[in-house]
């Protein structure tokens, strides 16, 4: 049965700045991704502004920042495609669901599927890499369900709370993603159709709001 979702991804805008700063200040962001907890909000803001500036309208950007948005909840998270190599047709993917209630929810998995669709079928990439800490089980389970392969176990690679943890390196090839799509065609088709519908609805709603 096709899956309907209200989640879609879009390019990050300047208007998203305050939301993204708030997510990056979240201790969970630092724990599960990166960053220094002592960074000032001003530094975070400057970094995001430079990130948004870097990816704007360049023909061949090295990084892309996407917001996971939803008609029901508004912006729910951040997706970044880093170190995009157009020669190797590869990128490194990071995802953070800032909306606490939606963590571990279907929204995360849907956002990840959206990212894969975007990487393979829009950017024409060959491979996605994702690095996830061993203690972030919910995230690496999403990747494994999406047919990504745990290729690396980097032992004692990240320090959290005074302890060293392993970091896993996952790889997903386009051929593997397409095989997965063939296995679950209705799921993927339904997801994409509903994403497009929801994005159009959200755009209309926001245009109406800003016109008032």
């Amino acid at each position: 049965m096709p899956v309907k979702t209200s989640v879609f991804i879009r390019r990050a805008e300047r208007d998203d700045l305050d939301t993204v700063v708030a997510w990056m200040e979240d201790p969970d962001f630092v724990r599960f991704l990166y960053g220094d907890p002592a960074r000032s909000p001003k530094q975070i803001r400057e970094r995001i502004v430079s990130m948004l500036g870097r990816s704007a309208v360049q023909a061949i950007p090295g990084g892309l920042y996407l917001v996971i948005d939803s008609v029901d909840y508004g912006p729910v998270g951040l997706l970044s495609l880093q170190n995009i190599s157009w020669r190797n047709r590869a990128c490194c993917l990071d995802m953070f669901v800032g909306h606490e209630k939606l963590r571990g929810h279907l929204a995360s998995a849907v956002a990840f599927y959206c990212a894969m669709e975007y990487c393979f079928h829009e950017l024409n990439l060959h491979r996605i890499t994702a690095y996830i800490y061993s203690f972030n089980e919910a995230s690496w389970q999403v990747l494994e369900k999406a047919a990504a392969v745990r290729e690396l176990v980097l032992r004692e690679h990240v320090a959290r709370d005074g302890q060293l943890y392993d970091m896993y390196g996952y790889g997903l090839l386009r051929s593997e993603y397409e095989a997965e799509c063939r296995k679950h065609p209705r799921f993927v088709e339904g997801l994409m159709e509903s994403m497009i519908e929801e994005q159009a609805k959200a755009l209309e709603a926001r245009q109406a709001e800003s016109g008032q």
């Binding site: 190797n88 590869a90 890499t129 690396l152 980097l154 032992r155």
Partner: protein, 194 residues
């Protein structure tokens, strides 16, 4: 300058640019010369001169490896030292692939591993080898590195995809594990220099 039995290791200078260029001018990519995106750079001699001229104290310094006759045989470095998690990346490129199986290469390993584990007190050094770098991989394994896994089809070069293996070596599995390691004599080499 570190003078060993076979190798002389010193900080790289602008005048080493031509020799460094020779390391890039090979038909297949070398894992240690890939950038953050795993792309092979193709710098000019002038660009390399500028880069070497910009080296500052406190950065990951690039060292030139010479033999005892003063010929440049390669380069080495500890790249991206991460003090928070106590690791760094082991980088060594020898211009002639046959040099990986010589006492000169062993001396470079001793220099870098001692620097990482004893002088910097790090816990781990990481390294990479492409699927066609069999000699590099054998060199790393011979010095105690173990595999962390292989990233599939991560680099495109020479008309095909290449896999990249990640390897690591922990201080605890080296002679430098003991607290007195700094005082320990350097390991003796048995083979003579070539």
């Amino acid at each position: 300058m570190i003078t060993g039995e076979c190798a002389v290791i010193r900080t790289a200078e602008m005048d080493d640019a031509t020799a460094l260029k020779a390391a890039y001018d090979v038909p297949l990519p070398r894992s240690c010369l890939l950038d953050q995106r795993r792309e092979l750079l193709t710098p000019t001699v002038d660009e390399l001169r500028q880069t070497l001229g910009r080296q500052e104290v406190g950065q990951s310094l690039l060292y030139t490896i010479e033999d005892r006759e003063g010929r440049v045989r390669g380069f080495c470095s500890l790249r991206g030292v991460n003090q928070e998690v106590s690791y760094t990346e082991f980088v060594m490129v020898l211009i002639d692939e046959e040099d990986y199986d010589t006492p000169l290469a062993d001396e470079v390993f001793e220099f870098l591993s001692r620097r990482a584990f004893v002088e910097m007190g790090l816990n781990k050094i990481a390294a990479h080898a492409l699927d066609e770098e069999a000699t590099v991989r054998a060199y790393l394994l011979r010095h105690g590195f173990t595999s962390d896994g292989v990233q599939r089809e991560v680099i495109y070069a020479g008309g095909r995809w290449h896999d990249l293996e990640a390897l690591s070596l922990f201080a605890k599995s080296t002679p430098y594990a003991s607290p007195k390691a700094a005082d320990a004599p350097q390991p003796r080499r048995e083979a003579p220099c070539q």
